[in-house]
Symmetry: C2
Subunit: 208 residues, 2 copies
DNA sequence: GTCTATAGGCAGATAGAC
DNA sequence: GTCTATCTGCCTATAGAC
C-alpha cells in the first residue's frame, strides 16, 4: 500500500523515450515527440530530466539493469547452456518483434555523437552481456553441452555482434525471418551434432 | 584532356557528407557541417543537392555503385571462394579502419526516419551484397573449396548481418580486434578442415 | 556556381505562475 | 509537478545579387 509500485511520471517518460529511441535513434526524436505522445508539455519533461543527455543516460542505465535482471532470471531457472543461450536469443527476438532495434545497438551506431556519460553507460551494457555469455559458454563447454574452439570471451563477442547486426538488417527489411535465420545458425554452430552423436572427431577428440 | 576526371564540386560534397554520415549518421550531421569542412556556404550545397533527402539518396547510390565495382574487381581477379570471401571481408575492414561505420549499416539503424527514396536505395545495396555472396558461396561449395549446410542465400545474410554487427560494436569500442576476431571466426567456419582434405562427407556427399 | 541575406520552423532549455 | 510563455540557436531551404 505504501509502495503500490505505481508507474510514476519519470517511468512513463522513459517508456516513451525508449520506444522512440529504439525506432528513430537518439538523434531522431525530440522532447516534443515524447510530450505529444504522453499528452504533456515539453517543460514538464525537463522537470524530470533536465537535459536530453541525462535522459539518454537514464535510458541506457534502466535498459541495462533490466537486461541484467533478465539474465539473472535465466540463470535462476537453471538448465543446460543450450537452453540459456536460446533464452538469451529470445530476449533479442522479443525486442525485434516489436519492430524495435536493441536500444544499445541503436546507440552504438550513433556512438560518436553521444555525450560521454552515455558512451560509458553503453559500454557497461555490452560488457555485462559479454561477461554473462562468457560464463555460460565456458561452463557449457566444460559440461560438454556445447562445443567451440575459440576463447569464451571472443565467442561471446561473436554472439553479441552477430545478433545486433541481424536485428539491424531484419528491421530494415521488416522481416523477422532474417533474424531467426541468423539466430538459428548461431545456435546450431555451438551444437555440432544434435541427433547423430559423433560426426567424425578423430584427432580433435576431447580427453575422456 | 577533354575529360581530366577532375573532382567536381558534387563529388567533393558527397565525399565530405559520406564521411560525416558514416561517423555521425544521417540525422547527426547538417549542411552547415559539410559547408564548414569544405570552406563553402550552405547555399552552394543546395545548388548541387536541393534537399537533404536527395543528398542522402545520392550518397547511397554512389556507395552501392562503388561497392558493386569492388565486387566485380574481386571476381575479375579470379581465385578460390575462400580468397574472394577474404577480399569481401577486407572491404569492410578498410572502412572500419578509417574509424567509420559502413554507410549502409549506419543508415539501416536510422531506417525508420529515412525518406522513402533512401530506404529503397538502401535495400538495393544489401540485395546486391547478398546476391554476390550467394553466388560465391554456391560456386565455392560446388568446387569443394568451402563447406556449409544452409542455403547460400541464408548464409549470405548471416555474413552480411554479422559483419555489420561486428563493425557496429568494434567502432563503439574503438577496437579493430573486435571486428577481426568475428571476421576470422566467420571465415574459419566455412573452411572446416584446411590441412586435412576430406572431413567425413558420407551421406551428404554431392553428386559427382 | 557561389555568394549574402533571410525566411520559417523546430531543437533543447529556462522563468515563473498555479 | 505541470502549466504558459519565451529565449536562443540551429535546422533545411529559398531569393536574388554577382
Amino acid at each position: 500500500m505504501s509502495e503500490p509500485r505505481r508507474i510514476d511520471a519519470a517511468e512513463r517518460i522513459l517508456d516513451t523515450a525508449q520506444q522512440l529511441a529504439q525506432t528513430c535513434g537518439f538523434n531522431g526524436f525530440s522532447y516534443a515527440d515524447i510530450a505529444l505522445q504522453l499528452g504533456v508539455t515539453k517543460a514538464s519533461l525537463h522537470y524530470h530530466f533536465p537535459s536530453k543527455a541525462e535522459l539518454g543516460r537514464a535510458l541506457i542505465a534502466r535498459y541495462r539493469e533490466r537486461f541484467v535482471e533478465a539474465l539473472a532470471a535465466i540463470d535462476h531457472r537453471g538448465g543446460k547452456a543450450t537452453g540459456k543461450l536460446r533464452s538469451y536469443v529470445k530476449l533479442y527476438h522479443e525486442v525485434m518483434h516489436l519492430d524495435r532495434m536493441c536500444l544499445c545497438g541503436m546507440f552504438a551506431a550513433e556512438y560518436a555523437t553521444l555525450p560521454p556519460a552515455m558512451q560509458e553507460e553503453l559500454r557497461r551494457f555490452f560488457d555485462a552481456n559479454e561477461l554473462w555469455l562468457s560464463g555460460v559458454l565456458e561452463r557449457g563447454r566444460s559440461a560438454r553441452e556445447i562445443a567451440f574452439r575459440d576463447p569464451p570471451r571472443e565467442r561471446a563477442r561473436v554472439l553479441v555482434g552477430t545478433l545486433e547486426g541481424a536485428m539491424l538488417l531484419a528491421r530494415a527489411y521488416g522481416d523477422d525471418k532474417r533474424f531467426q535465420c541468423v539466430a538459428r545458425h548461431l545456435l546450431a554452430e555451438l551444437t555440432p551434432a544434435p541427433p547423430a552423436p559423433p560426426p567424425a572427431a578423430s584427432r580433435t577428440a576431447p580427453p575422456s
